[in-house]
Symmetry: D2
Subunit: 350 residues, 4 copies
């Protein structure tokens, strides 16, 4: 596609990822909004759902999805529940549109696995093989050529960016990987629940989803592809009393004869020249604060000589690199924009 102005639609625009998409795309010189859908806020102006937007896009109102599926636009971002997302994607692709899907529907190469993990019937299995997993640092060229991208899950992004280079280079053992992840509460969505009620959440940390969180097979899929053999990670997420951010601390074992030098080389090879992955200099460790509001993934690592264990720490903003930022990054590749367009904002600190 050419580099001219694109009109964008966001389906399911009133969750946190929808908000973040709008925020990012408002800073994108090549995008104009044409369609925002929300069943709950249908007919209401944008600022009703998101008061921070008062004064911007004041003329834009939410419509109902069904009514807007046939509207005129170039690109659709889908922030819809899974299964619904794939069926909408199928219709939009049939109209020749570009689709960036933030649901889990097209992340799996193995449909039965997807169906078993999510407990549903896939809405468009025929399309699954055409979708590209939207991790630009890995699949950049494929993303450029597709019209359907599956934006990776937030936890998978943090873990895969931290471990994939080491598995691809054979530096660490494919067995025995542990990924201990910590997430801010926006990862749980915008629907009020007791578990995310402020007084139940503030001043506490707790694990959840143990031991079979549905992001586990997604991580294993990508790490296995990198390793050329089946990985079986143990993944445990924890809820941290903060709004945004994921920190992944991953533990793996150096393969025989491999050393810290190999770790360094693998990361350099993977990320040299990457805009959004920042390898920290020795002595620095990542903090989710340092990436908040930005599309960066900060990575540091150390080898624990005593145990030959490699510890990799990676930090992202779950709503940016872990969702809407990655979506914009893919959109840029798919539509011929510079990869960082709309993603130039520095982290908000403090």
């Amino acid at each position: 596609m050419s580099n001219k102005m694109k009109s964008a639609a966001i389906f399911g625009a009133t969750g946190y990822t929808g908000f973040e998409l709008i925020r990012l795309l408002l800073s994108h010189p090549g995008v104009k909004f044409s369609v925002l859908t929300s069943e709950q806020y249908s007919g209401q102006p944008l600022a009703q759902a998101f008061p921070p937007f008062k004064g911007r896009l004041d003329g834009v109102s939410f419509g109902k999805m069904e009514e807007l599926l046939g509207a005129k636009f170039d690109v659709a971002f889908l922030a819809l529940p899974h299964t619904l997302s794939s069926s909408v994607a199928a219709r939009l692709l049939g109209q020749g549109k570009v689709v960036v899907d933030l649901s889990a529907d097209f992340r799996f190469r193995n449909i039965p696995l997807y169906e078993s993990v999510y407990g549903v019937t896939h809405g468009a299995p025929a399309l699954a093989s055409k979708a590209v997993y939207g991790l630009a640092e890995v699949y950049r060229e494929k993303i450029r050529k597709t019209r359907l991208v599956a934006v990776p899950g937030c936890f998978p992004t943090s873990v895969i960016l931290g471990l994939r280079p080491l598995l691809a280079a054979g530096v660490i053992d494919a067995k025995g990987i542990v990924a201990d992840c910590k997430t801010g509460v926006s990862g749980g969505g915008r629907g009020p629940k007791l578990g995310f009620h402020f007084p139940e959440t503030d001043e506490g940390i707790r694990p959840y989803g143990l031991p079979t969180h549905r992001h586990t097979p997604e991580i294993d899929q990508e790490l296995s592809l990198a390793a050329g053999k089946k990985t079986a990670i143990t993944f445990v997420p924890h809820l941290v009393p903060m709004n945004r951010g994921i920190l992944a601390t991953s533990y793996s074992l150096l393969n025989p004869k491999r050393t810290a030098k190999d770790v360094e080389a693998a990361f350099r090879k993977a990320y040299e020249g990457e805009t959004f992955v920042r390898m920290l200099p020795p002595g620095l460790l990542p903090s989710t604060k340092d990436v908040r509001g930005s599309n960066f993934c900060d990575i540091a690592w150390q080898v624990d000589e005593k145990t030959r264990r490699v510890i990799v720490c990676s930090a992202i903003d779950n709503l940016v690199k872990g969702a809407s930022g990655a979506a914009v990054q893919c959109f840029n590749l798919m539509c011929g924009f510079k990869e960082d367009e709309g993603l130039k904002g520095m982290p908000l600190f403090p």
Copy 2:
């Protein structure tokens, strides 16, 4: 001045307002950085003081103030301690530079009052009369014509924007105004102190500086000018366990025969067409979350008929509209840029 590229210097760049200036100016198409000074981080790269900036401005290091006072640049932003700031300003103005001063040095029209409030001798009293108080919504035309702006204090900005239109229109009584303000902790600066140590701050709220916080005379100066008579506000700041934001809740009395309609008219007159002041529609109240990271000031008001009291609530981000954003807004006016250049970012939510 013309609308070409400007080279900017930030003196005292390693506090929170310095960081925020850099963040905002990085999104400004008409600015390039030439000088950043920091006594503490002298010789070190930007990312050493502010890890969030890794990967941007990697070639830029901090220098010492004295060494860089004569460097080549167009505009200086001063984030220096008071009294030092005014003497530096004097030297830079002498070189023909444009100066945006974030200290308190040039905020007062009355030098003896300044000296008594801050307990110091003014560093450049002769310049005070040439400085313009950098509240663009009030002094826009004067700011366009000056080379020296005093960026208002954070609390004064929140209170003055909320009350000035009502005093200017004679809607409220100049006597008997109470401003109860709540601020995030970044307002206390970046220097570690017991009072801002995390465990002493989190999960608590407390007043401070009672009853003679030095922002009081600054607020009175501007409100008195608006009212055409001397005001005497009672101002009490409170520390809230959050990083950013100021909420001002101001209480005043309707003048005889004045009604809610007059309040509405006064605000409409003052802020119609303003980009950064958002009058909320009836039923909505401001939250600091809705402006975080942006240059907006959100205002709502209500008349308590029982007491004829007008309650005005105004919310800003203390580091943006309350400091660095206001500085950039003034810089735009002084240098012929569009007023919102570098300030287009939407609030980060959540």
Copy 3:
């Protein structure tokens, strides 16, 4: 009543005030639990609703209110919705029981006012005149002699303790009082709502209920009684991103000829010898952190000479002195225990 062991029932035990009642009463040597009711958790053990209680009261399960109204116990604490509370109170009083009601039902001496403020029909108007307002520092002797206490609202407690002595002593003007209050989120109850969802609440402060929060007439009732004339306060609550605590900052005007000495004398007279009201020494200001988890109310004040305004700051834990602690304090008076039994815990800091 004599000082022997009392059996206690808590009706509506699964909100935050219910939890706090259990926590406090577990440390009370003269209380044993016989009945806990919860419609939602009926049939389930205590720790199911409140995991922190695992290992204590393991044999105790929740029952349904209707089934337990006739059970054998001495004292009932009612943490029920208003109107339901008064009708339950009526039945229990008819059985000869002692009732400590945490709802608003019996706080008002004026039934039509109550009905207009809460928009309901009172469930037991005949009893209202028999109820004592459960502010022990004011109504201690009456509380000792009654079988029905209305525990004050959380905001009213913080404001009344701070202003009542000054009005009773004629030190401040009954007109023109402003109470600007800040509360932790537990004050909003345990039911998940968007407004208390963690990502909508953390890192922000906002006003609410403006200008007619229903605690206003409750405060005016008690302040008017103290002043001997009608007060008309302006009361604005704000939501602070923390779990517990209320800070009230109250602004009023010194009467002619009155000075700071009169303020001091009024407070000394009111609170000398009080266990739970702590007048801070000069130079200290209250923080909600300093009272968290305890039944203390910390008070400091200052006179702003310029405006002759008295600023009173008072801090309580909304769930203790603002609800369940006050309930236990009243219970102690009603049943002949020492007033601080069950309330000896020091604040949890940090």
Copy 4:
């Protein structure tokens, strides 16, 4: 020793563990305070350092350590810097006193290891062999008989309580253990530092001390003793934006032929009848919120069948079970009190 009243001294009473000791001991019926030392607050009353204590112990002031070493008291709690602590302990033991040491000085059975880890010379090596590691659930009988207890580190307590039973029963492999720990900020002490400054800490999570935090050898010491062979854990701590609490998530491998049933049996054997360790029922996971302010350690576990990995989650309050509560528990054993005296308080929730 007999069960009569004990007079207690706290040396170094003005940090968070000192405060917490005072809070807990104030609820202990068998303790009276005779001595509180603080170099910083010497000569000042308790409430000056800790405003929450206003109104309690008002007559008690801090003294200087040197002047009070010879005072009359039965038991000393040492909350002093390491190396100073051991030399003070030596002098007090020489006077026949009971010593509960909260520093690291007597935690190590291997003095050279201690000296290498802490980079100091031990202050009283001869005493080290007489000290008992104060984990009551493991060394109860030894603690009863000693006059010198070393209170375990906060992280070690959380990890050891979670893993020791499994190693002692041979259920898990001694190799390949990972302990990923998350702590509240009070664990970093009360001294203001940039890393614990509120705006640098709130809304972020980050690892630190990687990979050689000095709690690692302490954990290995105790786990090796349990396993009967050398363990080599990988331990990574993380800083969470909350005041209190540690959550340890530990990953280890089931030994051949061992199953979940063996895990369950090992925990039951270890903790049946224990007051302060709460094994959670299936389906529940620990949260630091559920133990805050209490001496509980909550533990849950799951076997990840796919990887044969055992995931153990354990939560404590770092200032209670992780420091001052453990100290009181040991004191009770040493002085013949019931083990839970002074430790009966339920968690403060929310």
